[in-house]
């Protein structure tokens, strides 16, 4: 992970540095082994990010990619927080 720019919470600060190897390494830090379903979710999240669309649990529900229970099972604890980190995009935030 040398040369990969990340913020204090471990999120990439430059999406152009993202690749599958980076994602696999971040996933390992989060104790997750990536399966095909994980990659499908990552692809969906990156698409949303590219279109500047906000991520939400409701969006996941309506995405047709995964249901919310499965989303939790794939990224236990804080699924949006963890999946965005692996996808190389910013985590959902509030104003402050």
């Amino acid at each position: 992970m040398d040369g990969i720019n990340r913020n204090e919470e471990g999120y990439l600060t430059d999406f152009s540095q993202w690749n599958k190897e980076v994602a696999t390494n971040i996933a390992k830090e989060c104790e997750i082994d990536l399966t095909d379903k994980h990659w499908e979710v990552i692809d969906y999240l990156q698409g949303k990010h590219k279109n500047e669309e906000a991520l939400s649990i409701r969006g996941i529900k309506k995405s047709g990619v995964i249901n919310i229970k499965e989303f939790y099972a794939l990224f236990p604890g804080g699924p949006l927080k963890i999946s965005t980190k692996i996808a190389g995009i910013p985590k959902p935030k509030s104003c402050i």
Binding site: E9, A54, S56, I57, G78, K81, P92, K93, S94, C95
Partner: protein, 413 residues
């Protein structure tokens, strides 16, 4: 005659009517604004209503008073927009437009969460994002004897994302003043990674939660409310019990947007974040909470957008290229209780930082710091809102785009 139609006479719509009546020649343009409700609410005041700090008269006025002369004001329900025909179907008539401004805002949808809007709604489960909810909560708090109060955000995005935190801070102050703070357990439940989510704000402000004894439950995505057992349950089976649940339900754009086929998953209109033009139709523009912009859904954002939208509408009419000028600027006072408040100033790319506002180095307001002066600013804002902001008067020294002067950014910013 050409026609400008504004849908929604809330903060954004009213501001745009006031802006455009001054700019468009009367002999060429007819301006119409449509809303189904007669009342204009000062929505930031809903935060104070539950604690008896504001009264009804402070937050509720007749909308008509703020619609400028010369603007056609229609009180009717909007059925849908027919964007390919440049028409809006209202319940009682159909109107044409050359340019449409969508300013229909966002509203709470408690029915989206199982068990939320059931028999306990406004009895032990409250919202404070509506006048009715805030007033019902005020009546409840007047003789509540204490217990576990859970302040809860259902999902993002929500209008005024800091309001739930402010509510928790004001609740702490309210119960101290009432002499029952020791009988109240205050818990803040959020679907995000923390009550504060940005690094600088977390560092500067997390002490507020600790000092006030407010517990945080994070990464909590609610699946249902069990109102009989008085607990909220998350998708991954976590449970938080409550005696009094103060929730911010799912926020959705107006159903009219869905009926018109103009919205995203949450009925917000996909909009160019710098020009405020809708992504699908070039003669439809969107302002305020109705858009899907990655900016905060807040009155100050709508105010800054209004100045830029006015300019872009004039450019659009003149056949000029739109200015990609909106930077997501927001400027918000945050009540922290005990007569103090914070002020934050930020945009799409810059997180809130410390510094002074509006005059670099001088203030008098301090950014990201609790002061009494900031609280005075928040109170003064009610007057500014009714007398300047919705009337489209420029607020001196505060620019539509964010100034970087007087702010303590890191060098890499």
């Amino acid at each position: 005659m050409k026609k400008l139609v504004i849908l929604g006479a809330g903060t954004s719509g009213t501001m745009m009517a006031n802006h455009m009546i001054k700019k468009l020649p009367k002999e060429e343009w007819e301006i119409t604004i449509v809303d189904q409700y007669k009342t204009h609410y000062y929505q930031p005041g809903f935060l104070f209503l539950p604690f008896d700090l504001y009264k009804t008269k402070h937050v509720k006025k007749k909308g008509e008073k703020f619609i400028p002369k010369g603007v056609n004001y229609i009180l009717d329900k909007i059925d849908k927009v027919l964007p390919k025909k440049n028409k809006v179907k209202l319940e009682h008539q159909t109107i044409d437009y050359d340019i449409l401004i969508v300013a229909t805002g966002t509203k709470i949808a408690p029915e989206e969460t199982e068990g939320m809007k059931a028999s306990e709604w406004h009895k032990s489960i409250f919202d404070f994002y509506t006048y009715e909810g805030a007033k019902a909560l005020r009546n409840k708090l007047r003789d509540w004897k204490g217990g576990k109060m859970v302040v809860h955000i259902t999902e993002m995005p929500i209008k005024c994302p800091v309001a739930p935190l402010e509510f928790a801070f004001l609740a702490d102050s309210f119960f101290i003043n009432k002499g029952i703070r020791d009988k109240v357990e205050l818990v803040f439940v959020t679907p995000l990674g923390g009550a504060f989510t940005k690094p600088k704000a977390t560092k500067a402000l997390h002490y507020l939660l600790e000092d006030k004894g407010i517990k945080e439950v994070v990464d909590f995505n609610i699946e249902e409310v069990d109102s009989k057992k008085k607990k909220i349950i998350s998708y991954d089976g976590k449970e938080v019990k409550y005696d009094l649940l103060v929730t911010v339900p799912t926020n959705l754009g107006d159903e009219m947007i869905e009926r018109s086929g103009l919205g995203d998953d949450m009925n917000f209109v996909p909009t160019n974040k710098a020009t405020l033009q809708s992504k699908k139709f070039e003669n439809i523009f969107v302002i305020g909470d109705a858009s899907n912009l990655p900016a905060s859904k807040a009155g100050s954002v709508a105010h800054f957008e209004a100045e830029i939208l006015e300019e872009n509408l004039l450019r659009y009419i003149a056949g000029k290229k739109l200015k990609e000028k909106f930077d997501g600027h927001a400027n918000c006072f945050i009540e922290t209780g005990h007569g103090k408040a914070l002020l934050i100033d930020f945009n799409y790319t810059h997180e809130p930082v410390e510094g002074s506002f509006p005059f670099p180095g001088l203030g008098p307001l301090k950014l990201l710091k609790e002061t009494r002066m900031n609280h005075m600013g928040k109170l003064a804002f009610r007057w500014i809102y009714w007398n300047m902001l919705i009337k489209g008067t420029h607020i001196p020294f505060v620019s539509a785009t964010m100034s970087e002067k007087g702010k303590h950014f890191d060098k890499k910013n």
